[in-house]
């Protein structure tokens, strides 16, 4: 059971990371294309909107589960390292529970927002019709996957009886 959960979480966060990396590449090309076009008095229509609402949101948020699983989050180790192993495990469990609360709250609310945004086909003010509702789904997917990664880390730490 745990193995299947861990595999699902790992596969999911790697797929999300790959999509985010792709988004970084597209972002670099998109912005550069606009700069080059401007040099010839042309423009790539909708660069600002697409980059801000799609490439950025995807590139920034989708790797979150991978970051959580691999402990790449920025945290302060100085004090905790001085404590004995059992205390470190206790603090790690607390940190995971707080993480579950935080990402759980974000996942829940952003899912509601994404649903409402989809129902009303949300757009933004622009020179043209620009839908942003699809990109809103990046948030619940990212935060949900992060909850799963945190939960797997928590189970793993308890099984191994050590802080990860």
């Amino acid at each position: 059971m745990f193995g299947a959960l861990a595999w699902t979480s790992k596969t999911l966060d790697r797929v999300l990371l790959a999509i985010a990396c792709l988004s970084l590449v597209v972002m670099a090309l998109h912005i550069t294309a606009d700069v080059v076009a401007r040099a010839f008095n042309q423009q790539v229509v909708g660069t600002l909107e697409t980059v801000s609402y799609y490439h950025m949101v995807i590139a920034v948020l989708l790797p979150l589960a991978f970051v959580e699983r691999t402990h790449e989050n920025i945290r302060v180790d100085a004090f905790a390292q001085l404590l004995p192993g059992w205390a470190q495990l206790g603090l790690y469990v607390v940190a995971c529970l707080i993480g579950l609360f935080f990402f759980g709250a974000l996942a829940w609310q952003s899912a509601l927002d994404a649903y409402q945004s989809t129902v009303r086909q949300e757009t933004i003010m622009s020179n043209f019709l620009f839908y942003i509702w699809p990109s809103r789904w990046a948030l619940p997917i990212a935060f949900g996957a992060t909850c799963l990664a945190t939960f797997v880390n928590l189970l793993k730490a308890l099984a191994e009886r050590r802080a990860l």
Partner: protein, 436 residues
């Protein structure tokens, strides 16, 4: 409990959570959600969660952060920096402590192609430090030089820290980039001068460099280092001439770096994939703190703690030296334990109202803050750059060696900082020229 008391309690709980290893962004965010829920109503807290992450992340100006990170990682994974240190050394070998001075120069150059201090220190530690140790340089001097010079990465543009500060403080990132240039170069010159004086006084600190390069050797070496100057000129030149904005520069720089690497045949799939993964992971690590920090700003604003804090500091004196002293104490103490990006985003919600209230120039203040954060990167017990170098060299040096070596550079940083404070034009001259 009054809102103010909840605010103070919230800061204490957030610091406690950070100390017990809760990731900084999660600590700030969860305290803010609970705090706002208690101060107002759970509905307001849900409303903040609803509005903030999507709107904040989807900001055009912030695109510069992932793009500059990607550009820097592409430079390192495709070895665009290779040869830089060697080439500079061929020109500076005659100077006392020539290898160490060359390392400072190489770091300053690399800083102009990378947005991060840690990346700069990491890139040079594997190349320059072993060479210095082989030549009999003092361990402290060899490692301290790279740890400290790495910090130029955040001051010399482009700089991810300056992008984050600019977006947060609503100051032009272009002006901040211009403002960081002279203080960055000045820091490098002061480091180099200190190395030369120390080696002159005590020649045992530096080993002899036995190369005797001819001009043809030098020109041959320059042929190897063209990628970095080309990249720097295309990025900074584009910004300064107005061909593209600082926000767009990261993307253009990434594409140019890829083209250069492809031309040299070093853009392999594995190097490209490594750069992308590192950039994505670092970006997300930073942005989760940003989101937590935006929550924390809202929470603190509701509690009126920043306003009261500003009143408290200003009631003693509204002289800028006093405010900067208070800020410096906060950064130096917290900087011992918290890494620079985390610390910047943790403290700005509290400090910006104070600085704004005192009427200090936010561009100038930004450069001072970055310099203070950089000092935190090399001071014990955390000093991230020191650990980066220790990590790269393994058992060859001890942490004490590095920290001892770096202390000389910290003293120079204090001098640079005092100069920037006494002569604001060092930071503000270039932005004022740009404004014209």
């Amino acid at each position: 409990m009054s809102n103010f008391e909840i605010g103070v309690g919230g800061i204490a709980v957030a610091l406690f959570l950070v100390a017990i290893r809760v990731p900084i962004g999660i600590a700030l965010g969860s305290v803010s959600i609970v705090g706002i829920g208690i101060m107002t109503s759970p509905r307001v807290a849900w409303g903040m969660i609803s509005a903030t992450p999507f709107d904040f992340v989807g900001q055009w100006e912030l695109t510069a952060a992932p793009m500059f990170l990607l550009m820097g990682y592409i430079c390192t994974t495709t070895n665009l920096t290779q040869g830089l240190f060697h080439a500079i050394r061929l020109f500076l070998w005659r100077l006392p402590g020539g290898l160490a001075v060359s390392s400072v120069g190489a770091c300053a150059f690399f800083a102009a192609a990378s947005g991060s201090s840690v990346a700069t220190a990491a890139a040079l530690s594997r190349i320059a430090v072993p060479e210095m140790l082989r030549r009999g340089y003092d361990k402290g001097l060899a490692t301290g030089t790279i740890a400290a010079s790495g910090t130029l990465g955040s001051l010399i543009p482009p700089s991810v820290l300056l992008v984050l500060y600019g977006v947060y403080a609503q100051v032009s990132v272009g002006q901040l980039f211009m403002a960081g240039f002279i203080p960055g170069v000045l820091s490098a010159l002061i480091y180099a001068a200190m190395i030369m004086v120390r080696v002159k006084v005590n020649p045992a600190l530096a080993g002899a460099d036995d190369i005797r390069p001819s001009w043809s050797d030098r020109l041959a070496a320059l042929r190897d280092v063209w990628p970095l100057p080309v990249l720097i000129i295309s990025v900074l030149g584009g910004i300064f001439t107005g061909a593209f904005s600082p926000t767009e520069a990261g993307a253009v720089g990434t594409v140019v770096a890829c083209l250069i690497a492809a031309a040299r045949g070093s853009l392999t799939w594995s190097a490209f994939r490594e750069a992308l993964t590192k950039a994505a992971v670092s970006t997300t690590g930073i942005f989760i703190i940003l989101i937590g920090s935006v929550f924390f700003t809202r929470f603190l604003a509701l509690s009126r703690v920043p306003a009261e804090f500003a009143n408290l500091i200003l009631s003693v004196s509204d002289q800028s030296w006093w405010i900067l002293l208070a800020v410096a104490v906060i950064y130096i103490v917290l900087g011992m334990f918290i890494d620079s990006i985390g610390l910047l985003l943790l403290t700005l919600p509290l400090l910006l109202p104070l600085v704004d209230g005192a009427g200090l120039d936010l561009v100038w203040f930004g450069i001072i803050v970055i310099k203070l954060l950089e000092i935190g990167l090399v001071t014990p017990p955390i000093g991230l750059n020191v650990y980066v170098i220790k990590g790269a060299l393994g058992g060859q040096v001890s942490l004490t060696d590095v920290f001892k070596g770096v202390s000389w550079f910290v003293a120079m940083d204090v001098i640079t900082l005092i100069l920037i404070i006494l002569v604001p034009a060092l930071a503000l001259y270039l932005p004022s020229v740009m404004m014209r």
